[in-house]
């Protein structure tokens, strides 16, 4: 029996798993344990599987994902804080055959960009909005976000979010689900393999609906921020399950009517 060489094994027909070409090889700046890396990968895989990477424009936010354009092999625009849906609206209207998506965090999408979010969804822009909700401002160092839970401690709510004085967390996903312009509104997570698979399915559906010009598709991904929450990644995921999910329940909020 002849010896099996490594080169014989590394053959295309033997590949069971590989990184999508829609992501490049740049080392991501995200903290270990953060959900952004997984979410990026899912978006990239969906784009590759749909074969739309040559026909796709992404819009990066201000926040932790500000450098998203460094990781995707896609044309990318970096928007001012909160304005990504305005850029995406114009890109899509000027080039209706392109796939256009925004990738935004909670501060970007649900605080400073609330107006742009609501109105893009209300106009039913044929874009996909990907919303990473970790209840905190990660990049600026863990300040209170519009989605910070009641009593949750952050750098600007060091004694916990007092809803009497600081207001209540904003369930913007529930809000956009009410608008006639949205086609598909869903809330997902990426902390377990099962959730990763479900989230990927949701992203695929969102991009497919965009292709069908069904209106705005909106995918929230509830994620952790172990750095901002000052926990280990494992603790952060547990805290997310115990505290974020009861307030932000996972699942579809709106699916297209047949």
């Amino acid at each position: 029996m002849s010896e099996i060489k490594l080169e014989d094994i590394i053959q295309p027909e033997n590949v069971v798993y590989k990184k999508t070409d829609v992501l490049n090889d740049a080392v991501m700046h995200y903290c270990p344990g953060c959900g952004h890396g997984t979410a990026h990968r899912l978006v990239a895989e969906v784009i590759e599987e749909m074969g739309i990477q040559g026909n796709c424009v992404g819009i990066a936010p201000v926040g932790c994902a500000v450098l998203a354009y460094n990781y995707f092999n896609l044309d990318f625009q970096q928007a001012a804080h909160g304005r990504a849906p305005a850029l995406a609206s114009a890109v899509k209207r000027l080039m209706p055959d392109r796939y256009v998506f925004t990738y935004q965090g909670d501060g970007d999408l649900a605080a400073i960009g609330t107006g742009e979010t609501i109105h893009a969804c209300n106009r039913g822009e044929n874009i996909t909005i990907i919303f990473i909700n970790n209840g905190i401002y990660g990049m600026t160092g863990g300040q209170m976000a519009p989605t910070t839970l009641p009593n949750m401690k952050t750098a600007t709510s060091p004694y916990g979010r007092n809803v009497e004085t600081m207001g209540n967390p904003l369930k913007i996903t529930e809000l956009v689900a009410q608008l006639p312009g949205t086609s598909y509104v869903t809330r997902q997570a990426v902390h377990t393999p099962a959730h990763v698979r479900r989230a990927k399915k949701a992203l695929r559906k969102a991009f497919e609906l965009q292709g069908q010009k069904a209106g705005t598709s909106f995918v929230e991904i509830v994620s952790n921020c172990n750095s901002g929450w000052k926990m280990t990644p494992v603790e952060a995921n547990k805290w997310m399950v115990d505290n974020m999910f009861p307030f932000y329940p996972l699942g579809d909020l709106k699916t297209p009517t047949e």
């Binding site: 354009y69 044309d75 970096q78 928007a79 304005r83 850029l87 114009a90 000027l94």
Partner: protein, 360 residues
């Protein structure tokens, strides 16, 4: 024979946009410039040229739609009036930082704050000194006739794409609202994807043909790299200053004095010159057409040999500072202006020339 039409200045802007092949207009209503959006919606250019017209939810959204479209190398435009332009300053800074071409029209009204809807030139500083945050410049064109409102739209796109820089047409409520005859150009085709790919290969319009991905951003976290960006942009500004200064000289031969005025004030100064001539006062008019780059050299050359300069602006005196800098304070320079939406009369301008410059 060109088509001739009687139009408002605002309508001329809109008509020029349609005819010169603009791809998209994004705007929000505000007096005294709403006719731009109204005219576009009434003309339905999407049926004629495929031009997109969208009423946005705010001026902030409008300018960011412009950012998105400009990043695809589409010819995009917005317009507003002073308070709305203030809201756009963040977006303009990003557009300047990302070096994107676009055209923004400001039909100025009097401020500060909500002010009044009447004409003013009180946004000069905001226009020519940056306006938003960071070291940047807008190319600024100041039309003084409705015909120039029309002509400067295409000129603005030429400059915007030549330098990948935002261009502002700085008008005011007087020119926006008044009607004059306008010669219209033939309709031009909008740019195709192939034209954009060949001429503007930086565009983020999808990686057609599997080309390398393009990125539009104004972010550079490392100081040494950000400074290189700054230096490159400043070098571009120097080239613009060297090549793109535009002005008009009226009755400047043998003049003893000069008015320096732009836009509607320059129109009124022409009548003031006639009144002055009747009294034997020889006064010429230097009319900056580009407010940035500012026509420093001609103002220096003519101004330093003159007996004095009166700048006439509908403001508390803003351009006067640039005229003083240009003449290096070697000649008497005074400002005359009205505010709050009041338009100076030719007689009061002549009177100001006599009291502030000749007798002053």
């Amino acid at each position: 024979m060109k088509e001739l039409r009687l139009m408002k200045g605002n309508e001329a802007i809109a008509e020029a946009a349609i005819r010169c092949g603009v791809d998209g207009y994004f705007g929000y209503p505000i007096t005294p410039q709403s006719e731009i959006l109204e005219h576009l919606m009434a003309e339905k250019p999407w049926e004629k040229t495929g031009m997109v017209v969208l009423q946005a939810e705010s001026e902030i959204a409008s300018i960011n739609m412009v950012y998105g479209g400009a990043a695809c190398a589409k010819k995009v435009m917005t317009s507003s009036s002073s308070p709305g332009i203030s809201l756009m300053q963040e977006g303009l800074s990003y557009i300047a930082g990302a070096e994107l071409p676009c055209v923004v029209v400001n039909v100025v009204r009097a401020g500060p704050g909500l002010g009044t809807i009447q004409p003013s030139q009180c946004d000069y500083f905001q226009t020519v000194k940056g306006g938003g945050h960071g070291d940047y410049r807008l190319i600024a064109l100041a039309p003084s006739t409705v015909q120039e409102m029309y002509d400067f739209v295409e000129l603005s796109y030429d400059l915007a794409f030549k330098y990948r820089n935002p261009v502002m047409i700085l008008s005011d409520g007087l020119i926006g609202q008044m009607m004059e005859k306008v010669y219209l150009e033939e309709y031009k085709e909008r740019w195709t994807d192939e034209y954009i790919a060949e001429n503007h290969p930086w565009a983020t319009n999808g990686r057609a043909g599997n080309r390398k991905n393009n990125i539009i951003t104004s972010l550079e976290l490392q100081s040494d790299r950000q400074e290189k960006v700054n230096l490159r942009i400043q070098e571009k500004y120097r080239i613009i200053e060297e090549n793109e200064v535009k002005y008009e000289l009226i009755n400047c031969e043998n003049a003893d004095y000069y008015f320096v005025a732009y836009g509607s004030s320059a129109r009124i100064c022409q009548k003031a010159m006639e009144l002055a001539a009747e009294e034997g006062i020889k006064v010429g008019l230097i009319r900056p057409i580009t407010l940035w780059p500012f026509p420093k050299q001609i103002i220096k050359e003519l101004g330093q040999k003159s007996k004095g300069i009166l700048t006439v602006e509908m403001s508390a005196g803003q351009m006067v500072e640039d005229v003083k800098l240009a003449t290096e304070c070697r000649v008497k320079v005074e400002h005359y202006g009205r505010m709050g939406g009041i338009i100076a009369s030719p007689a009061e301008i002549v009177n100001a020339l006599k009291t502030k410059i000749i007798g002053g």
